[in-house]
């Protein structure tokens, strides 16, 4: 599940453009179907992103005259695309050949046998950020190549807090000091606290900062350990103790947080990289030129942690032409295409070497050094086939603790108990031992 990026203003135009492109693709496909195999690529195809993908696909087709490439449009909304994929793959449909997966789906699709392991194509694993590889590895095999990365960032007002906070505790102190200044913002920090996937990404960063995890290496549930309780208590204290976070965040998603920060109402904000570009425009943003990003700081006993998002490309296990499909994936994840993507739509490359490329440094939407540091400190959410249901349990229990329906320890105990029951019910233990052997 990805975070919602409201581009409501562009929606109509984007839909039109995508429809036109589809029509174009469909006509082409119709006239030249007899020429060799048809490769169907599916993924987000809205607006500038859609135009970019279409351009890259067309270029690939010119370089590979033996294959025809078609763009199969799928919903931009991650949940809807997931549902569609699951329906198709249950029916063992061979099309689309290439799937665009959200970072938390790879294990699920791999365990279901719906996507192919890529190791036999010897992908250049070492070139990608380790966290992006871990997120796509199931039972020791790589199942998808990271296409672009999304990473949780701490935004701060440089006119109020010139330097990066060195720890979470320091962040709280600095937030309070800035709020107390005459005319200072009402809110110290804003994040995503509504009951949805975004809450897990926020929590994961605090969890890592305090040295906690959701599952350990052996897949045991450790989300009710003292570190986790400290992390959740710290978040709750921001709401009711130090009161640097407004209670409103408990109903907020990415966009509400951005509005608050962009209007100058907050000292700090936790958000994804997309906000950089939007808030740099002085016509609509009161904080243009007055903010900077950095990785989330650590607390005592943990390390700086960023949640990892982004998209991966995988091959449909029922595809008729897996080799050609891999060629296309390799092409789209090659350095040139990643740079073009960063320039066109500001999405972060997943290859670490590109962060010293001058062309990437020229992209306004990407603060290269901070972005690189954040991705290096990124931790994937638990890589497990039952992630979605596990996340739902956590969303509910975390939210209960944050709205004070339950104490942190009590809520996390309940989460741990229910996740263990989920692992039991879904036969995960058997599955992992079988896959591991």
């Amino acid at each position: 599940m990805s975070h919602g990026r409201a581009r409501t203003n562009d929606r109509a135009v984007a839909a039109l453009a995508a429809a036109a492109m589809l029509l174009f693709a469909a006509c082409q496909g119709e006239s030249e179907k007899k020429q060799g195999s048809v490769l169907r690529f599916s993924g987000s195809a809205l607006g500038a992103e859609g135009t970019l993908v279409a351009r890259q696909l067309a270029r690939f087709a010119r370089l590979n005259p033996d294959v025809r490439v078609e763009l199969q449009r799928t919903p931009d909304d991650a949940t809807q695309r997931h549902q569609l994929y699951v329906q198709w793959l249950n029916a063992q449909a061979g099309s689309p050949d290439i799937l665009q997966l959200d970072v938390v789906w790879t294990a699920e699709f791999a365990a279901a046998g719906w996507i192919l392991p890529l190791n036999r194509f010897s992908p250049p694993i070492a070139d990608f950020f380790p966290a992006t590889v871990t997120a796509n590895t199931w039972a020791g095999k790589l199942y998808a190549l990271p296409w672009f990365a999304d990473v949780g960032l701490l935004y701060r007002r440089t006119d109020l807090v010139p330097n990066e906070p060195t720890s979470l505790e320091a962040l709280a102190t600095e937030a309070r000091a800035a709020m107390a200044r005459p005319g200072g913002p009402h809110y110290g920090i804003v994040w995503q606290g509504a009951r949805y996937e975004g809450l897990i990404t926020t929590f994961s960063e605090y969890l890592g900062a305090f040295g906690g995890r959701i599952l350990d290496e052996r897949g045991q549930v450790v989300v009710n350990r003292p570190e986790a309780v400290r992390a959740l208590t710290f978040m709750r204290d921001q709401l009711y103790g130090s009161r640097i976070a407004p209670l409103d965040v408990l109903t907020w998603h990415e966009e509400e947080s951005r509005f608050a920060f962009q209007n100058g109402n907050a000292v700090f904000m936790r958000n994804w990289p997309y906000a950089v570009e939007q808030m740099s425009d002085s016509a609509s943003s009161r904080v243009a030129g007055k903010f900077a990003v950095s990785p989330m700081p650590a607390a005592a006993g943990g390390h700086s942690t960023a949640s990892l998002g982004g998209a991966q490309l995988a091959i449909n296990a029922y595809s008729g032409s897996p080799a050609a499909a891999y060629r296309l994936i390799a092409y789209l994840t090659a350095p040139e295409q990643m740079i073009e993507r960063a320039q066109g739509v500001g999405q972060y490359p997943t290859r670490s070497a590109l962060y010293s490329d001058p062309r990437l440094r020229a992209v306004r939407a990407i603060p290269v050094d901070q972005a690189k540091r954040a991705i290096e400190s990124a931790t994937p959410r638990p890589v497990t086939p039952i992630y979605t249901e596990m996340s739902e349990i956590l969303q509910i229990e975390l939210h209960r603790a944050l709205v004070r329906q339950a104490e942190p320890q009590e809520a996390l105990n309940s989460a741990a108990k229910r996740i263990e029951a989920l692992i039991e019910r879904t036969g995960m233990r058997k599955l992992t031992t079988r896959a591991g052997s």
């Binding site: 949940t79 509910i396 209960r400 709205v403 879904t426 599955l431």
Partner: protein
């Protein structure tokens, strides 16, 4: 006579076939699904027959019982308010006054707005600290400072119930108005001659004769209330935590979010059984024949 009966059966056969196809077959299929493990996202589990295990899981799931409680709470509270307000509205509209036709049409406007749109409107009013609900209540001195409505169960219910009452009272009023118009005016004249005042007329003439209309309204509204989904989905998403989650939302979640077809089907069967039972109970309990022939 026999051939006539056969002809009769033949004539209704297509209708019965259609009913079987669109009502009985899906219901049977759902029951059959509910006896299996069938998780679309976990093909490694296969599709084994597990008897009543899904139903046992439901019975042991506190989230289900919570959802059932929320649904019952929502249904009872919102329908009680709607019935009382609707009755007043119906009595008012039943009087002769200028522009009556216009008023009768105008009250239906909230009901004509799609639920999702209405729910969004109500969410905007209650959502932020600067929302209109907070502004009005602070201005009126009822609240000291703006509150965040959706982070406490008690306050999260307020917009939910208000939105439902606002939207559905006109529908209730119209149903009751239809009932009122069926009452013979001479009964009131006779009551007046016997010295009954307005209150007595309401209690002993209007309400008893309105019983069929009230029953129809109750059945409609209870069944609607028990299946409430879109309103809460948009307004609170079932939160905070799961404290406003109704059974339909829980079922949607199991069936369409988690793609647990077996368990979700079992939940659907349970909802069906409850609403069906309620409908039967109403018919018996209120002692009214819906056909109205006996009168």
């Amino acid at each position: 006579m026999k051939s006539e009966a056969r002809l009769g059966w033949m004539l209704v056969a297509p209708a019965i076939g259609v009913i079987a196809l669109i009502a009985i077959f899906p219901l049977g299929w759902t029951v059959w699904e509910s006896l299996h493990v069938h998780e679309l996202r976990m093909p490694w589990l296969g599709k084994p027959f597990i008897g009543l295990d899904n139903y046992l899981e439901i019975a042991r799931d506190p989230r289900f019982w919570g959802a059932l409680g929320h649904t019952a709470f929502f249904t009872v509270v919102s329908i009680s308010i709607e019935l009382i307000l609707g009755l007043f509205l119906a009595l008012a509209m039943n009087r002769a006054f200028r522009g009556r036709g216009f008023v009768r049409a105008a009250v239906l406007v909230p009901w004509a707005i799609p639920t999702v749109v209405a729910a969004l409107l109500w969410r905007f009013m209650f959502e932020s600290e600067a929302g209109i609900a907070n502004a009005l209540l602070v201005d009126a001195g009822i609240l000291h400072k703006p509150i965040v409505w959706f982070i406490q169960a008690a306050t999260a219910w307020v917009p939910v119930i208000l939105a439902d009452v606002w939207k559905t009272t006109p529908f209730v009023a119209l149903l009751l108005l239809a009932g009122l118009q069926n009452i013979d005016l001479t009964l009131y004249e006779a009551a007046a001659v016997d010295g009954a005042n307005q209150w007595w007329q309401l209690r002993h003439v209007t309400l008893p004769l309105l019983k069929p209309a009230i029953l129809v309204t109750l059945i409609f509204r209870t069944l609607d209330g028990f299946r409430v989904f879109d309103l809460i989905y948009v307004l609170t998403g079932g939160g905070p935590g799961t404290s406003t989650e109704p059974v339909a939302l829980y079922t949607f979640n199991a069936l369409l979010q988690n793609l647990r077809f077996g368990y979700g089907s079992a939940l659907s069967v349970v909802i069906f059984a409850i609403t069906f039972g309620l409908a039967l109970l109403y018919m018996k309990g209120l002692g009214v024949n819906l056909g109205g022939d006996e009168r």
